[in-house]
Structure formats: structure tokens, C-alpha cells
Symmetry: C2
Subunit: 238 residues, 2 copies
DNA sequence: GTCTATATCCGGATAGAC
DNA sequence: GTCTATCCGGATATAGAC
């Protein structure tokens, strides 16, 4: 059996990226070790350095892929769109992204909390123009009386914070609600609850498709467990 | 001039705790180094180990003080209280706490994102009973028709996430809004915006004292800058 | 209580045989 | 492409003079 040329490389790079995401998400940049990543990927540390010369380059590669991923869901919208549709769809997508990609959400969170040393430029040059556009659009909705006179920037922050919370603080939420992981129906319920509260906060009615979902939903669609549990608190230093 | 016995110790411990908070908040537990903390506190590393035998014990001491601090503002409330008053006061206090103590907010965030290895027990044994009480109280408000039928747990998560966001993601928010740090009037505006949106999300009217504040406020009361900028992204490894 | 010097180990990164 | 052996700096922590 022959393999495509470059197949081994591609496989290894994938394994490394997956392992790196886990370790960086659970230890932060400085806390993560190349040894740990190599072990998790199942390859010797020297091989890891063969594929990624430095720890920094691996981290940057992960951040860069993360940006593409989240940018693809940036949910563009214009003043002529329907506010209730746009906002509920936006909340929906952000919660779903956090569910499908909890690790990149956590990596991003840690990076920003630590002062965004690797992402400052991106935030200033990419996120900020996008943000200002959205603020302007929401402001137009307000000016036309299509939503309540909330502060557009703080509405955006409210959507960001509330949706990301379920991915980043999964440990706390799952402990408080006495669960081991999120189920598909939990996710739909989160979407519904946030849409209900935030849209009402803007004086909007909830789109029809969400009015029924607020009570129950089948849960046979589990995809990616949101919890990670790398080695569950194995701080060697205890 | 004589000093009280134990005065030196107390002073040093204070300096160490302050430095530790900064470093742990900006690098996470594993990423922080005792050398860095000692330097920031202005004492030799060996002295640091004289006061705190291990890195772990220093970290635990900080977490423990953090818990007392935030518990003191846990904002108890009962079914007979006025929902609008309770919720607006709660949001107010949480935003203010994040403004006054951004570092402990960040430390907590990093700890939870990393799976809460040092806090799991506390969340299960202290936070959870508190959480269940609050859920029950809010549920009673709903049953008596005093607020809209939102999911109580998700309302709590919404308040937690939206208020903490301004402390934890300060770097991003300040970059997007083109500011160097929060001003007192920003904080009042944040409180007002969140109260307006979240209370409306529960079908509540805004308490009188917040109806005027939503436009302006003097800003001569600056206290603690929310931004930390330890050494601003000095990742040696670049 | 303070601080220099050091023990011990683990970190990132590389050399070079296979 | 793979992997053992190794370099070296920096990590936690301690010994012991002052």
C-alpha cells in the first residue's frame, strides 16, 4: 500500500495541531510544554520541532487557523436586515461555534485575558473595523426605531460575553448544573434562553422558530463534548 | 522609630500577594514564575520562599482571599425582594468589583478556563448551594409573575458573563473603543447599559436612579485602572 | 529576617545516526 | 522523516552565612 506524498506530514501536522490546541487551551502559552504536546500527539519531541521549529510558531499557526474559523462566522449584516433575525441568528451561531470548537474559544480567551500579546494587531486591524461597522449598523436600526435605544457597542459585548461564557466557563457551569458535559438539547436551550433575554432586552419579539424550542428538544445529536479535561488537574506541584 | 512586631512580615506578605496577583493573572499558574513575582515585589526570590514555602501555597492563598472578597459581594436576596432592585444592584456591584479588582477577576477566569483544578471543590461545595438558592428565588419570582419566564440559571449566567467580560476582556474592549483605560463614567455607562438590557430582557422596568445616568456622568473619580499591562507582551521567545 | 550560592530538574531547541 | 542523546538556560526550592 502506497501513501500520497506528503500524507505522513499532513497527518502529523494535524495530530500536532489538535494536541497543541488542547494543551495551550488548558495551560496557556507559557504554561504549555512542547513535551506535553508531543506526548499527546504521540510523537517524539524532536519530531514536533521538525514540523514546527519553535513553540511560538506552533502557537501562531493555531491562532491564525482560529481566526479564519471564527471570521468565517462573523455574521455580516446590514441596516436593511431584520434586527430580530440577525441577532437571533448571530447568537445561535456563536453558541454553536463555542460548542463545536470549545478549545479555540478557550485559547482565544486566555490570550485576551493575558493582554493579547499575539493578537493585539489583529484586534486593532481586523476586528476593530468590523466592530465599528456593526456599531454603525445597529445605530441605524435605533435611529429608525427598529430596536430599542440600547448602546450598540454594549449590545455587541453582551452577545459576545454571554455566548462565549458557555464554552470558556464550561467547568463551572457543568459543575453547577451537575452534568458531565453538554448535550445537544442543552445547547438548543442555551440558544433559546439567550435569544429570548437579549432580544427582549432590545425590545424585539422572538422569531417564530424559537418560540417552541424553549422547552424541549431531542438529544441524539451529540457531536463534540465541550469539556476537555486534559489530565484533570494533574498539577505535578501539589 | 520602632515597628510593631510582625510589621515587616505583614508588609512583605502584602507586597508578595499584590505581585503574585499580577503575575498569576497575566500568565496563569504554570506560566508564572517565582522569580518574576519576587522581582515585582522587590524582594529576593529566597525571601519569597521564606514567606510562602511553595508556588502552590502562594497561589492557594490568593485564591482563598479572592473567594472571601467576592463572596462578601455575593448579593443575597430573597423571594420577597423587588426583582428590579435586586438585579440592578447585583449588576452594579459585579461591574464595580471587576473595575476595582480586575486582577482577581482575571485570575479566577484563567483558573476556571483551565478546568478549575484548584477551585473545583469550592465551586461544588460553596458556589453550587448558593447558585441553587438563587435559581429557586428567581423561579419564585417567575411563578408569582413578578418577572418574565426566563430560565433562572441562564439569567444568572448572563449576569455573570456580561459583567465579568469588562474586566477579563479589557484589552479587547479598550482596543475596540480606542481607549487606554476605563474612566469612571465608562463604568457607570456600562452599569446602565447592562441594567437596561438585562432588566428589559426579564420584562422589568429600570429603577429610577438609573433612568438618568444612561447619558453622561462626571469622570473625576478615577480609582483603579482596569488594565494591567504587566510587561506588555514581553514574550521572550519571539 | 535576609540574601548568596547552589542543588536538582525540566524547559526549548539541536546534532547527527539511522 | 524519525528519534536518541545532548546542550543550556531557567525553573522551584533549599542550605547556610550573615
Amino acid at each position: 500500500m502506497k501513501y500520497k506524498p506528503g500524507q505522513i506530514r499532513e497527518d502529523n501536522v494535524q495530530k500536532i495541531l489538535a494536541a497543541g490546541e488542547k494543551v495551550f487551551a488548558s495551560q496557556g502559552f507559557k504554561g504549555a510544554s512542547m513535551q506535553q504536546i508531543a506526548d499527546l500527539a504521540g510523537i517524539p519531541k524532536a519530531n514536533l520541532h521538525y514540523y514546527f521549529k519553535t513553540k511560538d510558531s506552533l502557537y501562531l499557526e493555531l491562532l491564525s487557523r482560529m481566526q479564519s474559523l471564527w471570521n468565517s462566522a462573523l455574521d455580516d449584516f446590514t441596516p436593511s436586515d431584520d434586527p430580530a433575525e440577525v441577532l437571533s441568528r448571530w447568537i445561535e451561531v456563536k453558541v454553536e461555534m463555542g460548542y463545536q470548537h470549545p478549545l479555540s474559544s478557550k485559547m482565544f480567551a486566555m490570550e485576551v485575558i493575558q493582554g493579547a500579546p499575539h493578537l493585539r494587531r489583529h484586534i486593532r486591524e481586523v476586528t476593530r473595523p468590523w466592530f465599528e461597522q456593526r456599531v454603525a449598523t445597529i445605530q441605524q436600526w435605533i435611529d429608525h426605531g427598529r430596536i430599542a435605544a440600547v448602546d450598540p457597542a454594549h449590545l455587541i459585548f453582551l452577545i459576545w460575553s454571554s455566548t462565549q461564557h458557555y464554552a470558556d466557563y464550561a467547568t463551572q457551569i457543568l459543575t453547577l448544573t451537575d452534568q458531565r458535559r453538554y448535550r445537544r438539547k442543552d445547547i438548543e436551550h442555551i440558544k433559546g434562553s439567550l435569544i429570548r433575554m437579549i432580544l427582549a432586552g432590545c425590545g424585539l419579539n422572538i422569531p417564530e422558530r424559537w418560540q417552541t424550542v424553549l422547552s424541549s428538544q431531542p438529544d441524539f445529536l451529540e457531536v463534540s463534548p465541550m469539556q476537555i479535561e486534559l489530565q484533570g488537574g494533574n498539577q505535578r506541584l501539589a
